[in-house]
């Protein structure tokens, strides 16, 4: 298990649980960061933070602090761009992680 903030670009993960509270937790749930949700780490900003994630077909930017509150399982990587939404990590599992 690792933190979403530490997953490198190109990887797919599933959400295990959230350790955020209050309003942020509500917002994360509303965006679809629910248990088992598949997330793709798309890219990092010009200074390495924030990071853009593909969450349920939408591109959402989270700062490192927020992404560190999401515990995830890395399920595979697909370092090439061009994979369309919605996410189909199965296609990338055979590639390098």
């Amino acid at each position: 298990m690792s933190k979403l903030a530490h997953v490198s670009v190109g990887n797919y993960v599933t959400v295990k649980n959230l350790s955020s509270t209050g309003m942020l937790r509500e917002r994360m749930l509303a965006l679809g960061l629910t248990k088992g949700a598949k997330i793709e780490v798309i890219r990092k900003g010009p200074s390495g933070d924030p990071t853009i994630y593909n969450i349920r077909g939408a591109m959402i930017a989270l700062r490192e602090e927020e992404a560190a509150l999401v515990a995830v399982n890395v399920i595979g990587g697909c370092t090439e761009y061009g994979v369309n939404i919605p996410i189909h990590p199965e296609q990338c599992l055979n590639r390098s992680i």
Partner: protein
């Protein structure tokens, strides 16, 4: 004074809690995720032209409009875009309260066809509240381009509510949407939404609490029930039971007190929902997970996406948000827009000035022919008309070029990328990443920028954004900056392309951004202490702008609106300035007295008394600063034909302007008190005189300091 939620909460969002309606009218609420084209649907239904933009949170002020369809009159209320109704933010509370307790007859949930799964989350929540829901899947044209195929009939059956496919920009599906929503609102079309069934342990408790609620309601005699209660009773009791289970205590308390439950009911509810905070988290997690599982199912079954197609947006983002190109591209984009504006505005400006001057000659001749008194000619022509001419010829061309360009960037979806690229800077300044978006709005008008600060949830960071918005030059100041930069930085001999003014104005904008960051940091470390709050920013898909609509909104809505505001302020200001310049007390006119008083201080900061006076008289609107300044110079000096920028230069140089004066004029224009409208808006948004005063004191102090320093430097090296 503490920075409380109340002190920053805006009332405007709750203004429309109850919508006035007549007997034969129906109220329809428009809900949806941010940036799903809700406003476009709103415009398509009502025929209004509310401005839309391609970034989440664009609609911060609610709009309502009417439309009549098949003789049925409907009032459409555009709710703020929300991801959920669990009320994490002010917008969500408003949307939830309106759907729960407002008197809407039906709700349209607008969903983005390219991101249906996420949008269904809100839909499921709305379906738990009311049966009268229509799902409008918008942006179907964009989905088609992305090879996403949606089976609307299938979704309709799976959800149990009417589903309409729309491309509101093109008007596709709007008639069908009207047909459907009217029937749902007037009861001709009844549906049974298939809401989510949760895990057994939740369902058991929900059923128990629901039974208690229903019992309590039926026990009450009808006379006991007041109107507020009645609307609450209409609220789905299942939804109430769910919120009692997973909602925070504040929400539960307010619901229960609104419902006037008796003690026995309260106790039995408490017995069934004695969850700890952690348990509530688990319940809420499970509920969200179940809803999303359902949404996934629908997506898998009824949405077919071609995953092999290259994702265009990501290719563009490779450059726009890249480590290497991201920020340089942004500066280049800004510089490019300013260059087009400056270069393009020059010629029409000259034309307009020449045109107005010829009119002035005709009018003057006419005044002479009827033997009008000199003072009348002075006030009306030399004061009022001349100031108006200046305002129009200096302001109109840059605005008419800048606004459409900016609106195109907004529509494409570039602004959130700017916020994304610059977020690390705002984070270092302990400010909110979305402050960048409010600054972008400030380019148009600082008052609008300050209203847009509502998209920032945290009160502390919202206040920082409000206090620093003025450091972005609004379009009232852009023409001043552009005119001065053009006058002083275009060498007379050089013909054709000259990029110096562009660089100067771009540099000023960058300085403004830098000062915004510094002041934000300073505020965060002193009177607005705190750590940065959370940041989630959705980057919307790129969209091709609708050029026709861009031209319409930017020319009519923005340019004309701003120009008109400038004109109605400039006209009397021009007349008054003329009067002040021509009434003598002793040897000097009133203006000269004021100037003489201000001059010693103004000289210290590299300006002169006239300039400082123009800034003070320009408080109502920044647009009139330059015209007032010219008025004042002209009224006391020799008359000059002002039919070109060259003559403008002559006026300024005759009055002792140097490069230092020009530089400091531009700096002070960037860094001084906000205009009257902006101050009023700040007062309204913060509800506090203290913060309003601070919003004027901070930039003014900085402006004076900066100008003082440049003056010292210039004089030290012998250039001043």
């Amino acid at each position: 004074m503490g920075l409380t939620f109340q002190s920053t909460q805006n009332n405007a969002l709750t203004d429309l809690f109850k919508v006035e309606k007549h007997d034969n009218q129906y109220i329809i609420a428009l809900a949806g995720n941010p940036n799903t084209g809700k406003s476009t649907v709103f415009n398509a239904l009502t025929g209004l032209r509310q401005h839309t933009g391609n970034w989440p949170g664009k609609t911060v002020v609610n709009a309502s409009g009417k439309f009549t369809h098949n003789y049925q009159e409907n009032i459409l209320v555009d709710l703020p875009g929300t991801y959920s109704l669990f009320a994490a933010s002010v917008e969500e509370t408003v949307a939830r309260d309106f759907i729960c307790f407002g008197n809407a007859d039906a709700v349209i949930v607008v969903a983005d066809a390219t991101c249906l799964e996420r949008n269904l989350n809100l839909l499921y929540q709305v379906m738990e509240l009311t049966n009268n829901v229509v799902l409008c899947i918008n942006l179907i044209d964009e989905a088609k381009k992305k090879n996403i195929i949606i089976d609307a009939k299938g979704i309709e059956q799976a959800l149990g509510i009417p589903v309409v496919l729309c491309a509101a920009r093109k008007g596709t599906g709007i008639k069908e949407l009207k047909d459907t929503i009217c029937k749902v609102a007037n009861g001709q079309l009844k549906s049974q939404p298939k809401t989510v069934i949760y895990s057994d342990y939740i369902e058991e408790k929900v059923n128990a609490i629901e039974a208690i609620i229903r019992k309590n309601i039926s026990e009450k005699s009808k006379t006991e029930i007041d109107i507020a209660e009645k609307s609450l009773i209409d609220v789905n009791s299942r939804w109430l039971a769910l919120r009692i289970l997973d909602g925070d205590n504040k929400l539960v308390d307010s619901l229960q007190s609104n419902l006037n439950f008796n003690d026995i009911t309260n106790k039995s509810i408490a017995a069934n929902s004695n969850f700890s905070e952690i348990d509530k988290y688990i319940v809420r997690d499970d509920i969200s997970t179940e809803i999303y599982k359902q949404a996934e199912l629908i997506r898998d079954k009824f949405v077919k996406a071609d995953t092999t197609k290259t994702n265009r947006d990501r290719l563009i983002d490779n450059y726009i948000t890249s480590k290497t190109f991201g920020i340089p591209l942004m500066l280049l984009m800004l510089g490019g827009i300013l260059w087009i504006t400056i270069t393009g505005a020059n010629y029409p400006s000259t034309m307009l000035a020449a045109f107005f001057f010829s009119i002035e000659e005709i009018l003057t001749g006419w005044f002479i022919s009827i033997n009008a008194p000199n003072w009348l000619h002075g006030i009306l022509i030399l004061g009022l008309f001349r100031t108006l001419s200046w305002v129009i010829s200096v302001m109109l061309p840059p605005m008419a070029i800048f606004f459409p360009l900016f609106t195109i960037l907004e529509d494409i979806g570039y602004l959130p990328r700017v916020a994304f690229n610059l977020d690390h800077l705002f984070k270092k300044a302990c400010a909110h990443g979305k402050q960048c978006l409010t600054m972008c709005m400030g380019f148009g008008c600082n008052a609008a920028g300050i209203i847009s600060c509502r998209i920032i949830d945290s009160p502390r960071e919202r206040m920082i954004a409000i206090l620093t918005n003025n450091f972005v030059p609004c379009n009232g100041r852009f023409p001043t900056l552009i005119a001065i930069a053009t006058i002083f930085l275009v060498a007379k001999s050089s013909s054709g392309i000259n990029i110096l003014p562009t660089i100067a104005v771009t540099g000023l904008v960058v300085i403004g951004i830098g000062i915004t960051l510094l002041v934000s940091y300073g505020l965060s470390k002193t009177i607005l202490k705190g750590i940065p709050s959370t940041f989630t920013l959705e980057l919307p898909p790129y969209r091709v702008p609708q050029f026709g609509r861009v031209l319409y909104t930017s020319i009519i809505d923005r340019t004309m609106f701003v120009l008109w505001r400038a004109i109605i302020i400039a006209a009397p200001a021009g007349a008054i300035t003329w009067v002040l310049a021509n009434i003598y007390i002793g040897d000097l006119s009133i203006i000269e007295h004021i100037v003489a008083f201000l001059n010693p201080f103004a000289q210290l900061i590299g300006l002169d008394g006239y300039i400082l006076m123009a800034f003070i008289l320009g408080l109502p609107a920044n647009e009139i600063v330059l015209p007032i300044l010219l008025m004042a110079y002209l009224s006391t000096g020799s008359m000059i034909e002002f039919d070109s920028l060259d003559s403008l230069k002559t006026i300024l140089i005759d009055n002792g302007w140097t490069y230092l004066t020009a530089l400091n004029m531009m700096l002070f224009s960037l860094l001084h008190w906000p205009c009257g409208t902006t101050l009023l808006t700040i007062k309204k948004e913060t509800g506090s005189l203290k913060w309003t005063a601070l919003s004027a004191i901070i930039p003014t102090t900085i402006g004076i300091t900066v100008c003082f320093i440049t003056t010292i430097i210039f004089r030290a090296i012998g250039l001043g």
